[in-house]
Homo-oligomer: 414 residues x 2
Amino acid sequence: MSKFNQYFLMEANDVIEYVQEKVSTFKNSNKLSCKEIGDGNLNYVFRVVDQESGSSIIVKQAGDTARISDEFKLSTNRIRIESNMLQLEGSLAPDLVPIVYYYDDTMNCCVMEDLSDHTILRTALLNYEIFPNLAEDLATFMANTLLLTSDVVMNHQDKKNMVKNYINADLCEITEDLVYSEPFTNYKNRNDLLPENQEWIEQNIYGDKKLRFEAAKLKFDFLTNAQALLHGDLHTGSIFVREHSTKVIDPEFAFYGPMGYDVGNVMANLIFAWAHAEFTLPSSHKKDSYLQWLEGTLTDIIDLFSNKFLTMWKQNVSDIMAKEDDFDRWYLDSVLVDTSGVAGLELIRRIVGLAKVKDITSITDNQLRAQVERVCLLTAKKLIIERTTFKVGTDYVNTLKNEALLGKKVMKND
Amino acid sequence: MSKFNQYFLMEANDVIEYVQEKVSTFKNSNKLSCKEIGDGNLNYVFRVVDQESGSSIIVKQAGDTARISDEFKLSTNRIRIESNMLQLEGSLAPDLVPIVYYYDDTMNCCVMEDLSDHTILRTALLNYEIFPNLAEDLATFMANTLLLTSDVVMNHQDKKNMVKNYINADLCEITEDLVYSEPFTNYKNRNDLLPENQEWIEQNIYGDKKLRFEAAKLKFDFLTNAQALLHGDLHTGSIFVREHSTKVIDPEFAFYGPMGYDVGNVMANLIFAWAHAEFTLPSSHKKDSYLQWLEGTLTDIIDLFSNKFLTMWKQNVSDIMAKEDDFDRWYLDSVLVDTSGVAGLELIRRIVGLAKVKDITSITDNQLRAQVERVCLLTAKKLIIERTTFKVGTDYVNTLKNEALLGKKVMKND
């Protein structure tokens, strides 16, 4: 009897046996090596390499508590969601996610394409690397996966069954806490403020009643708006890149929510990359061309997403009332309002809350980091409070550059 | 072996055997009589009476097609939903629903309290009967069942599991078609217009682009907004009354949707009752006091619902962000906007669509009926297009009375 008939948390040696037993192309491989390479918060990721052929594969297994903290008890349901979602995304947005070879609901693991020749986008951006296709690929990924899983296109009964299959209560709760509640209330006392910004954040975030009120509205949209099947965690750490290749990974937070949640997350995390480069790089031609590319990417993600969304709408709309004149534009506008709000929330929670981003934490000069944080937080507040005014990509870039300019003036005067 | 171990559609004689076998209090009853008394669209309703003791009971069984048309294929899932929902409503709003004694998921039937001493509210209203507690009871029923099943109060993980258990795809599709699509597009060619109003409706409903656009927005809210567990079909045919007693029945359309859907349905159906009385009764003291009571009831349903909602919010709110200052009022306002929109949709679909109400169809003079329909349709258009302005009960009554006054002037001039 196979030892893999009952769930246990595998070590590297178990994974080699597992792959030999379960994956046909590795059945006769006697020189397999395996290493745990996970650095996410929730799962164990093993890379298995056939030392003879050089071919390789990833085995991702879900544990039953989060790696960063035993406080988060998690159902292993998330690996089912991730595996199903990767396959669905692969069919809706071809070549933009890793291929799934095998999903095992006993061992709670998923065997998938090895993308070790790719880099995590956040890391690449911290090295100021440029990816000419990034905006195009991400806009395609989002327009396709979001619009094609919505009531605009899907049969409404099928869509409701999808909603049911992708109920993801425990992972959604993490987002509800970390993104939508703790940054404004610190009610779990887990926020982590840079000492140089403690007072500023207490005054300008915790103390801003209007901001908190708008965040509450956005939270209830997240809780109730079953608009499309989201990736649910689409930051630059969930995107693999190589020149001319983009692969979205880790959709374990997938659920039916507001479309703007995915688009807003992408925007916020690229804003972090921009702020990092703008404030840490000395003036140079390289800096200029990197920032120029990144500003173009921020702009294009919104504008290409909007264009693709409207084009695909015309080609795929099935709901009879969604065909009303100009309804597509109204619907897209509401997605863009959510996008702006969520981008603001993501910027705030990564600075105020417990889960940080390297774009900020890698700035070792605390005075400088405090200023970069304030630029991002001030941009965030505009994105949330004035979210109906962010309609095109340049609205984001102009606001961000303006806040950066003001921030630099403050620094000069200090 | 029991004949009830496999599903079949029961006749009256089967139901007698069934009750003797399944319901302990009827085990030794040898003088049971049984009659099918159903007049709804989807189910078979049997009343079983013990001729000796006089005690009685209702057995409701789900068929697998709708009674009104074989076109509607239905899952028997709806009787599970109805039985569970009645029990849940009974715990959230005590004494306002019939007691469930037994639910059988093989025979797809539910054994429940007999309310034959009550009358269907629509029938009672067509007899101009007055029920002093009606507004109070319905406001309590809606405030309790809606607020207490929402993310404002419930643990969010538990709420998501409720969303899953109450996915009700086929019955929702009926509503999506009959309420949100066909009245504006006639795309299934099933609309049923009074000849005297054919041209008027083609021009003022089908031909009103602004109205259709707003209906499209409301449709997508219905499709995506998993706000609270709704009754889903709360018209005056789903409410049993007796003096000082109100019982809400038939929650088979229950699902997680926008709260305003239930409140709006109640309002629209009471508006029909008002219009019927206003235009068919000759002037009299009785007419005056009946209309006065009905106008008070229309007013109170909105205002008592609002008051109870805000009071219960304070007592039960658990979400940390929902506790922000004035968020309760903002949230209620958005429910009231939906309420107005849905009330308008229900008024339109009952006149234009295939499922009519007796308040209108019982008016035998076609000229008069045409005028009453127009008054209701003009009120409906205001309720939909200007839905952000209907904040308190008198907003509804004033608009309705104003349209009625204008309608009477038109008749005089004809």
